[in-house]
């Protein structure tokens, strides 16, 4: 099965429409960035406190968002951000974010949020332990003496093991137990032990232990600078390598193409209101490498063809090279795209930004290798050639002969027809 046996598209003929499309996309992205005051930064770059609270699937999540926001507005010094995470794993998850100028404030805010959630949905006045928001050592400590009193003979390590097994079962259910019956299959949980569990613990309808992040403001700004430095250095490194393997203008073409990809991806992230997190930067740096790959494969072919056919015009060589590598380009991009698509669809909320960046980036990266990198090389060479020879070399002569005029009479007797 072959999709592209011997294609002959004149890619470079249509370079202007595509360059125009690139400019429009880039402009749209940059405009969005300007209007929204910059990209939406993840917590590692911005600083602050971020907590994920997971609720049972049958709760009305929008109502919860409203309630939590209302309560926190009063309890916190600055208004928090509360939003529905829409993570597609079948859970109701909200994300609560607060700002803070130093770690003491942020830690305090975290405690306020935890307490507010307990007040709204938990049983803060109960003496029982909340099983959905506790850890192994706290549970073990809580159960030790009541188990003994109830006559359940268990050594200390056995109690620890039981606590760990109970919580492992809870964690298999996304960290949220809705009913004590769900623990039936836990090894070592005899009916007596279960009774003790029931009397010592209760199940809050939410868990806030899944993901908590606190980042001081100074760390955030340091990281921002580092991210930009790393990206620029990576681009510079590529430029040097390609300069070394090809000509400098190829390096410039490749780097401009990759730069264009990065700008458009960030722009689209801005338009879609997606966060730029640390993993998104990782995706962008990977994209830099990947887009370079594509471009290099075409450049390699161009170099090979130039060596074979020294008399052919550059525009024809480039066209032919692109056509020859078309099969490979489509296959590789297609396959890498499918791998990344699998990540995007099934990889879960944590990798969402990462996979989105790659999905967008691979499409744009493939497109830029053909329609941005190569035209730049061509345009430079054309311009350099024109500078060297002020008069055109051999004018394209049309099929119908001209009447009169000295040029038509003289000439070399051969007619060059350009495609």
């Amino acid at each position: 099965m072959e999709l592209f046996k011997q294609t002959n598209f004149d890619f470079l003929r249509y370079k202007w429409p595509f360059i125009f499309a690139s400019l429009v996309l880039s402009a749209a992205g940059i405009l969005s960035l300007i209007v929204k005051g910059g990209p939406r930064l993840g917590i590692e770059f911005k600083g602050g406190m971020l907590m994920t609270a997971t609720f049972a699937p049958d709760k009305p999540i929008d109502q919860i968002v409203g309630q939590v926001r209302g309560a926190l507005d009063k309890a916190l010094p600055a208004p928090p951000s509360v939003q529905n995470l829409n993570s597609q794993n079948g859970l109701n998850e909200i994300e609560i974010g607060t700002d803070g100028s130093d770690d003491a404030t942020l830690s305090r805010n975290r405690q306020i949020v935890v307490d507010t959630l307990a007040k709204l949905y938990g049983q803060p006045n109960s003496t029982k332990l909340d099983l959905n928001n506790t850890g192994v050592s706290a549970l073990a400590d809580r159960l030790r003496i009541p188990l003994q009193t109830a006559g359940v003979q268990m050594s200390d390590p056995q109690v620890n093991q039981l606590a760990a097994a109970i919580l492992a079962e809870r964690d298999r259910r996304h960290g949220l137990l809705t009913n004590f019956d769900e623990l039936k299959s836990v090894p070592g949980l005899t009916p007596q032990a279960m009774k003790v569990l029931n009397q010592e613990c209760y199940l809050a309808p939410y868990t806030a232990n899944r993901d908590i992040q606190i980042v001081g403001p100074k760390v955030g700004s340091d990281l921002r600078t580092q991210a930009i430095e790393a990206t620029l250095l990576a681009l510079a490194g590529m430029l040097v390598y390609i300069w070394f393997r090809f000509e400098w203008i190829y390096g410039v073409g490749a780097v401009l193409a990759v730069f264009h990809d990065t700008i458009i991806t960030i722009g689209i992230f801005s338009i879609l209101n997606q966060e730029i997190t640390l993993t998104v930067i990782a995706a962008l740096l990977t994209l830099v490498g990947y887009s370079m790959n594509d471009t290099i494969v075409i450049f390699d072919r161009i170099r090979e063809n130039l060596n074979l056919n020294r008399r052919e015009k550059l525009v024809d060589v480039i066209n032919r090279s692109v056509n020859q590598t078309l099969s490979r380009t489509v296959m590789t991009s297609g396959l890498t795209f499918i791998a990344v698509l699998a990540l995007f669809l099934f990889g879960g909320p944590v990798l969402h930004g990462f996979s989105l960046a790659l999905v967008i980036g691979i499409i744009i990266g493939t497109y830029s290798s053909v329609f941005v990198a190569s035209p730049i090389v061509l345009m430079w060479h054309d311009w350099a050639d024109k500078r060297r020879k002020p008069e055109p070399v051999a004018p394209a002569v049309s099929a119908t002969p001209r009447v009169g005029g000295p040029k038509a009479a003289t000439g070399k007797g051969s007619v060059k027809v350009s495609r």
Partner: protein, 540 residues
């Protein structure tokens, strides 16, 4: 040719076996295989659950302590040498970045004794540079080498103390190490796998435990700091300060105490908690003293019978007691509200004081349930991606596609085995890296196969076409791999934890790919072409 092929095949099979062993060992059952895997493949915190803390050591505190000690010593020295000095003070850097600006100001030095003074500083205080401000005033600044040493030592000491404290809590496999260069960053990384409530740990880590016992002046207590200052006419006597006593059992109050401690945390040994005999239901922490400390304490208590002393922890009075008789070897802090508080205090006293304060720059707690979900998601998407890629390769390249699939599977196995052998940590972005490796690795195969197709179309014989395909594609493969590895290098230098995991898996995957896509794939082709009869068509 046949022999060479056999050797190559043996090498490949051996590699596969070594890799599989590296991942699952010699299991005798499915559950043992799972256990082996869990042991060999090191999971990151985002997959296992746990807490990740980045602390910043407030090295300016250590600089200030050093300056204070230098000033004390200088006072003694100038007194013994009869050099009259008007007064000394130091500035107050507030952040680690301002540490280098630490400065001692000395004014009113007897101008006649200038040469002796300068000699004194040069001899006894080589870490400081003396700069005259005018005929009688000077300033001292720490030399750059001394500052570098101070910062490095402070961070390393902090790591040691925190290590002892965290280990004493009995947590599983904590990691405590400097984060970045100790001189420029003064940060410490603490990783606590499985710990989902870092508040308790933070409490234990963060206490500087600057513990001291001081003499309480015979006045007060007052109800507030302002009252205390007012009673002394707005100016405190030399070498005293006003500290607060917060007590759960008695009233509190502000006391006037001596600044210079009688004994400090360094002199304490062997702290432990017990029930408080004086306050039933409460707890206390007892400590013993070293020989040196016992001597000092004996001298002090015998000279101050009837006076009071205070135990000060982190600039807060924890207990006040009247000295009834000479005490020489032990002390207690009583009236603590809970067993945990008493045992934490004992722990903190036992492991020694932190040389400087701690601020938390960053904190991430991932619940184990999120880790379980992440692993599940990673596996699903990995399997989905792998199956899709395999199907497409088989459909598009027919039998040659099998070569690619085998090479791809071997690549993945090699990658996971390398992670196990190097003890590298697998994070969620690392799993994404594995999936991405699958997508990118297949590129090498595509390059080679497309080239072979081209050569066949150009009329070459099958063996020649295969040869030319591999040969011409080789340099392109090298180029593409080098560029991605370069960008991963930058990612590794810039990134932290999970992101580094991603860079590492991608780099290992690409390196393994050069082996599998070229060497292994070629060997399989060679097998196909090595039969006695001439191969007439290549399924590609």
């Amino acid at each position: 040719m046949q022999r060479q092929l056999m050797i190559k095949t043996v090498v490949i099979v051996a590699t596969v076996l070594i890799c599989i062993f590296g991942i699952i060992g010699f299991p005798t059952s499915v559950s043992q295989m799972e256990a082996n895997m869990q042991q060999r493949i090191h999971l990151g915190l985002d997959l296992k659950g746990g807490s990740h803390l980045v602390l910043q050591v407030q090295v300016q505190d250590a600089a200030k302590t050093q300056a204070d000690q230098t000033m004390e010593s200088l006072r003694e020295e100038t007194r013994t040498r009869n050099i009259i000095v008007g007064g000394m003070d130091r500035n107050d850097p507030q952040t680690p970045e301002e540490t280098d600006s630490i400065q001692i100001n000395i004014h009113g030095v007897d101008a006649a004794k200038t040469p002796q003074f300068r000699n004194l500083i040069a001899e006894r205080y080589p870490d400081w540079t003396l700069t005259p401000v005018n005929a009688t005033d000077y300033r001292m600044n720490m030399k750059p080498t001394a500052l570098i040493d101070l910062k490095r030592n402070t961070v390393e000491q902090s790591v040691e103390v925190i290590n002892k404290r965290v280990n004493a809590l009995g947590l599983t496999e904590p990691t405590i190490q400097p984060y970045g260069d100790p001189v420029t960053r003064s940060q410490i990384l603490v990783e606590l796998p499985g710990e989902d409530d870092p508040a308790h740990v933070k409490g234990v880590i963060g206490e500087t435990a600057q513990l001291k016992i001081v003499e309480v002046k015979n006045e007060g207590p007052w109800k507030s700091k302002e009252e205390a200052l007012g009673a002394k006419g707005g100016i405190l006597p030399l070498n005293t300060e006003v500290l607060e006593y917060v007590s759960a059992v008695n009233g509190g109050g502000w006391y006037l105490v001596n600044r210079t401690p009688v004994i400090t945390g360094q002199d304490m040994r062997n702290a432990r908690m017990s029930n408080d005999p004086d306050h039933p239901g409460r707890w206390e922490t007892n400590f013993n003293l070293s020989q040196d400390g016992a001597r000092k304490f004996e001298r002090f208590t015998s000279a101050n019978i009837g006076n009071r002393l205070a135990v000060v922890l982190d600039n807060q009075i924890r207990s006040v007691a009247t000295i009834e008789s000479t005490i020489s070897d032990s002390g207690r802090i009583n009236g603590l509200a809970s067993q945990e508080e008493a045992s934490d205090l004992a722990l903190v006293l036992r492991t020694g004081a932190l040389p400087a304060g701690i601020k938390y720059d960053q904190e991430r707690t991932v619940g184990p349930s999120l880790g379980v979900d992440s692993i599940r998601n990673g596996l699903y998407s990995g399997v989905a991606g792998l199956i899709a890629v395999i199907l497409i390769m088989l459909i598009y390249y027919k039998k040659a596609g099998i070569n690619a699939v085998l090479a791809l599977l071997l690549n993945t196995v090699l990658l996971i085995a390398a992670l196990a052998y190097f003890g590298a940590t697998l994070t969620l972005p690392g799993i994404a890296g594995i999936i991405l490796t699958v997508g990118m690795a297949v590129d090498s195969n595509v390059l080679i196969f497309e080239r072979i197709r081209e050569e066949l179309r150009a009329g070459k014989t099958i063996p020649a076409a295969v040869d030319a395909g591999f040969g011409k594609a080789w340099w392109t493969i090298v180029d593409t791999h080098v560029t991605t590895i370069v960008s991963c290098l930058f990612l590794f230098l810039f990134g932290t934890g999970p992101v580094r995991g991603f860079a590492v898996t991608l780099v290992i995957g690409l390196c393994a790919n050069v082996f599998t896509a070229v060497w292994v794939s070629r060997t399989i082709f060679d097998w196909e072409l090595s039969g006695r009869k001439q191969v007439t068509a290549l399924s590609i």
